[in-house]
């Protein structure tokens, strides 16, 4: 049986193959990735499309949570101040209604309550990064402005709508309550009750002062209830932030298992490929130059 006398093409093919194995192993070690083009692993490449989009989204959801959280905290602390102010107004009203306060003292109490009313209006007009927090979705201008036609002396310019912010796939959190629901609700009108208290104190009627103080007290309870919405939102945002952190970890680990390399394994494969390549080269160098001519002594 005659054997193939020309080993060059076979040896060349072998060396190319082992060289290409070295290149692949080197690339994996250098880039830390086992998949760089779809043909390396079509299924993993397809899954990476989802992973990439999801990772970017989770990243942005996390930023949304942080941004929204500080907005909600601002609103929460504004309502906190309102509660403090209203508590003060209730105690002033109670003081004015005890029937022993002089008319001049009632006047100064009325002025003090008027100051509280203005401070509450200013809290109701709180803005965060240029947007008013209590105007519903109409947040580019101050929700409460002075108006002589209104019984409370202030008119609401906002609307009754709310915004929800995306903080997860299929998860959005309502981030505001309209001012109409907090400060000028028909059942417990904060601004209206304060304004009535001022008038009652100015008029000096104990009965009026008592009923106005009771209305402010009702408003105080109502605002405290509304404040709960914001603290609930804050805790929802906090727990969502934790979820998102966990999701980021999951996505990163999924990415590693799809297209990453095991460093130790990649390094081992590289050194194996290098050894195989050297062996192929050494074998070629030994075999190729040999023919019978090397051993024939030229005739004298």
């Amino acid at each position: 049986m005659r054997v193939n006398p020309n080993m060059v093409p076979d040896i060349l093919a072998d060396m190319q193959q082992s060289q290409s194995a070295v290149n692949t192993a080197l690339q994996q070690v250098a880039t830390g990735k086992s998949v760089t083009v779809p043909s390396d692993n079509p299924a993993a490449s397809a899954e990476m499309v989802q992973n990439t989009i999801e990772t970017a989204n989770v990243d942005q959801y996390t930023k949304n949570v942080t941004g929204v959280l500080s907005m909600v905290q601002t609103a929460d602390s504004a309502l906190g101040s309102v509660v403090t102010s209203l508590t003060k107004a209730v105690s002033l009203g109670t003081e004015g209604a005890n029937g022993t306060t002089s008319a001049s003292d009632l006047q100064s109490i009325a002025e003090e309550v008027q100051g509280i009313l203005e401070s509450v209006v200013s809290q109701a007009n709180t803005s965060y990064q240029g947007s008013y927090l209590f105007g519903g979705t109409e947040n580019s201008s101050a929700p409460y402005t002075a108006s002589s036609s209104s019984s409370s002396g202030y008119t609401y310019n906002g609307n009754d709508n709310v915004n929800s912010v995306a903080v997860g796939d299929d998860m959005s959190i309502q981030v505001n309550l309209p001012g109409s629901q907090i400060f000028s609700s028909s059942g417990s009108d904060v601004l209206g009750s304060l304004s009535s208290l001022v008038s009652a104190l100015q008029s000096g009627s104990t009965t009026d002062i008592e009923s106005a103080t009771a209305a402010v007290s009702t408003a105080l309870n109502f605002v405290s209830q509304q404040q709960v919405f914001y603290s609930n939102t804050e805790s929802q945002l906090d727990s969502q932030e934790t979820n998102l952190q966990q999701e980021t970890v999951n996505l990163t680990s999924q990415q590693n298992s799809l297209v990453g390399v095991d460093e130790a394994q990649a390094a081992t494969e590289l050194s194996q490929a290098e050894t195989a390549n050297s062996a192929a080269e050494a074998a070629a160098a030994k075999v190729l130059p040999n023919t019978l001519l090397n051993y024939l002594v030229p005739s004298q």
Binding site: P38, S39, P42, I53, N64, G67, S140, L251, Q255, V259
Partner: protein, 464 residues
Amino acid sequence: MPDLIAMGGLNTSLLIGLEALNVSQSALDATSNNIANSDTAGYTREVPQITENPETVSGNTVTGGGVSLNDLESVRDELLNLQIQQQTSAQSSADTESSALDQIQTYFPTSSSSSSGNDIASALSNFSSSLTQLSASPSSTTAQEGVISSGQDLAKAFNTAANGLTTVQSGMNTKVTQTVAQINSLTQQIAKLNGQLSQLTAAGQDGGTVEDQLDEDVQQLSKLTGISITQSSDGEVITTGNGTALVMGNKSYSLQTTTGSDGTQHVLDSNGNDITSTLQGGQLGGAIQIRDQVIPGYLTSLNTLASDFASAFNAAQAEGYDSNGNVGEDFFSVPSSGAAVGITVSITDPSEIAISSDGSAGSNGNVANLSAALTNELSSGETPSQTYSDLVYQVGDDASNASTQSTAIGQNITRLTDQQSAVSGVSIDEETTNLIRYQTAYEAAARIVSTIQQLGQVTINMVS
């Protein structure tokens, strides 16, 4: 009488010696030609066919008649050649497809979340997160501009991928024209060699160099397109895989190319029939497969995705109000054909994004609808990103299959070539051994001649 017999015997020996010299000389010629061509592509080793001459019978004495050289015979295995040609066609087709798909898949890179590439996956993810950002900051001009610019990037990513596919497609189109020209010049040459070979065969001679060249040319031809070969009395008959004649005996039939109604180059046989869709194998078959099947398939997916997604997003725009309180206008504009290559963002003013659901500037109510266009199912029943990952999978799978196929066929060819080389290849060791054999034989034959010459001298001296 004894002298006469002796003289006759000496002449016979002299003639035998001379013939032996000639045969050794020819065998040395064949050996040196083999050595000279040991690295020539397509060369088939030649072996001298040496036979003994008829013996002469004189009474009871039988005398050998010496030696003569019949022929130098090329050692070839036609069946192996045929198998190699078939595998070469298949490999060349797979190689053409593989290299085109390698180019194509650079437009569909495996994305990673850290990359900010301009491929569709990265662009989709940036667009998606810009909308998510808008949800938290609906009034921020920066967030609004982010949506416009990432929308433009997404449109550009579609444009780039579609243009990339079209570029590869037109490259394949050029390859069709070039390959047909190469096929025509080869078939002419093959027909000429076929004519020469049939003359040699008719004269009872070995094909030798002509057949080597013919085999080499047919091998080249099989690289260009899939062929089928039969033998006729006029030599080889070569047709394309589906039977279109390329060479019959000493006649060749040129293929032609013409621009078809679809703008691509179509291949016609010598009678003007369009045979484009029947061509398989070789560079030509591979190029046509990529140009007419693979790329149009990808482009259709890409166009459907671009057009469906744009409609869904525009519909979401129309559900809300822009910052000026108007109903949202189309965000993307897509041409009716070639959606992926032609998609653009039609609005430039950030205030035209339909963010609001109630007409007030501070509402973000419609952002959820805009975002949902990215995650809702399109008419295909899949979300935009699922549709795109399907395409990435398809491209990757096609590229990986073509390359695997090419490697597998390559191993077949290596095995077949080994076998062919074992039959037809020149072995330096063997030729060196032959060189020694024929040299020794030549020296011995020369010794016969000089011995007879001395004997003749002795005889002449006896007479004088």
